[in-house]
């Protein structure tokens, strides 16, 4: 039967070398951020809100690795202290988004026609709203906080992923191997369990990793509008937004939080892709 097992849809096309340095780097960075999230005081020389007006807007130096902000706060220490909150919001929102997406996508692709159409149309209506607007709506109802942000960003980005999940499931459902399995007389439940769901949902591993970075960017937008974590919290999005005002005079305030977000997003994606690759390899042998 092995011959009938398909290769995963949307398999990574980039060759994964024998020595995946990018993977080691990514794991290293995530490990560092994990320490920062759990025990920030081990890594940060200053407190997250410790003000020192005499050293306001200092460029990066050995004393202040990432420079200081308008109140003389050490940006590196703030980034370290902001890790836990940022990771929580990023992972939490990505999780909420994907759970919603899988439920909606599976309903749209697999349920009986009237239900599928209803779900389909509902997702389309949600789609008509920009993701930020959906998020704003939720925050307007519940009030701003980190938790609201998690759900707001999750809800806001879910319709896009729901569409994707639906497409993946439909593609798997209509594929040759499912047709073959049906022809061989496999039960509906077995086909769903063994063929459709694994193939349709496996790409989500990478998507999940990817959406963490995206969620942090979304959350930063909400923080800026005063609808997320309130300043002077060192949440990365809030740092990025606070830094924007000083971009011409103190670009490090924007640069470093931005780079950290990019680095996290890259690492998470890299790990996601390797994970996907190894999962696939494991299944083949």
């Amino acid at each position: 039967m092995t011959a009938l097992r398909p290769s995963v849809i949307d398999a990574p096309r980039v060759a994964l070398t024998k020595r995946p340095w990018s993977l080691y780097l990514s794991i290293g960075l995530l490990a560092f951020l994990a320490v920062a999230a759990v025990a920030p005081n081990l890594l940060a020389p200053y407190g997250p809100t410790a003000i020192d007006y005499d050293s306001a807007l200092q460029p990066p130096s050995f004393l202040h690795l990432f420079g200081t902000d308008e109140s003389g706060r050490d940006l590196y220490s703030r980034v370290i202290h902001g890790t836990s909150q940022s990771l929580l919001i990023g992972i939490g929102a990505a999780f909420v988004s994907l759970v919603l997406a899988v439920i909606l996508g599976a309903l749209a692709a697999l349920s009986v026609k009237p239900v599928a159409i209803l779900v389909d149309r509902s997702v389309e209506i949600l789609f008509a709203f920009p993701a930020l607007l959906l998020a704003l709506l939720l925050i307007a109802i519940t009030g701003p906080s980190a938790w609201t942000q998690v759900f707001a960003v999750g809800l806001g980005t879910a319709p896009g992923y729901a569409r994707m999940v639906r497409g993946q499931i439909l593609a798997a459902k209509n594929s040759g191997y499912v047709e073959a399995a049906t022809a061989l007389g496999h039960s509906r439940g077995r086909i769903l369990h063994e063929h459709i769901l694994p193939n349709a949902l496996r790409p989500l591993v990478a998507v999940f990793a990817l959406s963490i970075g995206q969620s942090i960017v979304w959350a930063s937008g909400l923080s800026f509008l005063g609808l997320g974590v309130a300043p002077p919290s060192p949440e990365w999005g809030a740092l990025l937004d606070a830094g924007r005002a000083y971009v011409t005079q103190a670009s490090w305030l924007l640069l470093f939080p931005g780079l950290v977000i990019v680095a996290l997003a890259l690492s998470a994606t890299s790990i996601g892709r390797h994970l996907q690759f190894y999962l696939e390899k494991g299944r083949r042998t």
Binding site: V217, G226, A230, Y246, T248, L259
Partner: protein, 543 residues
């Protein structure tokens, strides 16, 4: 998936790069005045979009000042000069004011500006037409009487010698009586009919408001730079909430002038050849009012401790970068007649004294460095109108306040409140907050009356942010309001400020600014002197 995936990955990086590039672009410095353009459109970018053109908020007064004429105007020397009124006179007993209007002035709907219209406007304001005009006139205004077609008499219940000064503010813009009576509220909200230099042409909410020149303008104020209709054909008020975006729009010549220049951009714009205008708003500065009715600040020592815990001057000097002035006085700002320096100097940075006062008041330090009393921590709620009342520089200053107060054992919950929530009444009651932040522009120290008039069951004073209902302070301010002699008046106002400082009811933080940055090809935009709003009547563009 591969394409969107990479696109999503680079997005944050792209933002960083784009922002850095935008920062590098700046136009060449002004190279002398070019050819004058006949007409043209000024694109002006303020940060606030109010709900109506005319109303009790300063941002409304800034717009309506260009659309509605007032009876009088305030010139650069703080003298009241003619506008719609040619002359005016206070009666000997101080209980009535007679205004004589200019002849032949018409509203843009064709009806005449006459005594009847002016009298109607006074009644309109005090019955809810303008919340700020109403609180100024409250307790003084009795009636407006039509003497003849061009003469109107305002009757007061007590003397108010600075009435004409107050009437120079945009809250007292005169509208067409016919329009107010016959048009819908929505029409009068979005496009009020006045006799001003500009007419509201259209308002695309969330985007821009277009003013078009009043071709038949005849009633310019005495302190205007020219006579006749405005030079430019249109003024496009394009609302841009974000300060960084406003500056970028100015630098890329997308707009001709911007409002509320961030302190950190001041020097860059100055070096880039832009004209910068800074008006230190008179009236109440950006200050902290303590809740004297509920919570820890009912104890005067705790209020004083909070004041001593702060190095306000250092915070403001650092964040304000020399642009924003420190203001220690919680009652009245330094640019206001009748200002008390003694009240401003009352509290200096003295954390030891703060600790002493808190110990005395029974608030003991616990192991976490937080003060406690009877099992309760010294936690105070400090909400602020983010973006609307307090701009980004102000928010950074408040973060310094929080940090320093926490050094002596307070826990400060700094809560940014969005405009919509704030104006819907969030954190407005004594139960909801311990400290209020805010300013209130005014021409005289008479602002004290609005902020400190004691509440009574019949007429609660919602502007009394300290919830401090004290007859002694109230009477001091009433005496000052009615004092005929200016020196006596100022002295009484100063006593009131010192009373506020002594009891630490409110402490100042920084002087609220009205700032403009103007492109080199735009000339003669001036900040009207009553409130610092931009005036486009005399402005013109060059190539």
């Amino acid at each position: 998936m591969s394409l969107p995936r990479s696109a999503r990955l680079v997005a944050p990086l792209a933002i960083v790069i784009a922002a850095s590039l935008a920062a590098c672009a700046s136009p060449a410095a002004g190279s002398g005045e070019g050819q004058r353009i006949d007409g043209g459109t000024i694109v002006y970018a303020p940060q606030q979009e109010p709900a109506c053109v005319f109303g009790g908020w300063i941002e409304q007064a800034y717009i309506s000042y260009n659309v509605l004429d007032s009876l009088v105007s305030l010139d650069e020397n703080s003298q009241v000069v003619p506008w719609l009124a040619e002359k005016w006179e206070e009666s000997d007993d101080g209980l009535s004011w007679t205004f004589t209007l200019k002849d032949g002035v018409g509203f843009t709907d064709g009806t005449p500006v006459n005594a009847e219209a002016v009298a109607y406007n006074f009644d309109y304001w005090v019955t809810g037409g303008n919340s700020t005009a109403r609180v100024w006139l409250f307790g003084y205004y009795e009636s407006a009487e039509v003497v003849d077609d061009l003469t109107v008499r305002i009757n007061l219940s007590a003397p108010y010698p600075r009435l004409a000064d107050n009437l120079t503010q945009g809250y007292f813009g005169i509208q067409s009586k016919d329009a107010l009576e016959t048009r819908s509220d929505e029409d009068n909200c979005s496009a009020p009919i006045g006799s001003g230099a500009f007419i509201v042409e259209e308002w695309n909410r969330g985007q821009n408001l277009v003013l078009v020149r009043n071709e038949n303008y005849t009633s310019w104020p005495a302190n205007a730079l020219h006579e006749g209709p405005a030079y430019v054909e249109k003024v496009d008020w394009r609302f841009v909430a974000d300060a960084t975006t406003r500056v970028a729009a100015l630098q890329s010549s997308e707009v001709d002038a911007i409002y509320d220049v961030p302190a950190v951009q001041w020097k860059t714009l100055d070096d880039g050849g832009y004209e910068l205008e800074r008006y230190v708003t008179a009236g109440r500065p950006q200050q902290l009012s303590f809740n004297t009715q509920i919570g820890p600040f009912t104890d005067e020592r705790v209020r004083q401790a909070f004041a001593y815990s702060l190095d306000r001057e250092q915070i403001v000097e650092t964040i304000g970068q020399g642009v924003i002035p420190f203001e220690g006085n919680g009652g009245v700002s330094q640019s206001t007649p009748g200002y008390s320096q003694a009240a401003a100097d009352r509290y200096t940075y003295d954390p030891e004294k703060a600790a002493e006062l808190l110990d005395e008041a029974g608030w003991q330090l616990n192991a976490d460095g937080v003060r406690e009393k009877d099992g309760e921590t010294l936690e105070v709620v400090l909400p602020y109108g983010a973006g609307s009342i307090v701009n980004a520089d102000g928010a950074a200053i408040l973060q310094g306040v929080k940090e320093q107060a926490e050094q002596v054992g307070f826990v400060v919950d700094l809560i940014p409140v969005p405009q919509a929530e704030l104006f819907a009444g969030a954190y407005s009651t004594a139960e909801e907050r311990d400290i209020a932040v805010g300013y209130w522009t005014a021409v005289t120290s008479g602002i004290l009356y609005i902020n400190w008039r004691p509440s009574t069951p019949e007429s609660p004073n919602y502007s009394n942010q300290a919830f401090y209902d004290d007859e002694e302070l109230g009477q001091l301010i009433l005496d000052a309001n009615s004092a005929a002699d200016l020196d006596t008046q100022n002295e009484l106002y100063q006593q009131a400020q010192e009373y506020i400082a002594d009891h630490a009811l409110a402490i100042g933080v920084y002087a609220r600014l009205s700032t403009l940055a103007v492109a080199p090809n735009l000339h003669d935009v001036w900040q009207e002197h009553a409130q610092g709003g931009p005036t486009f009547y005399d402005a013109y563009l060059t190539e």
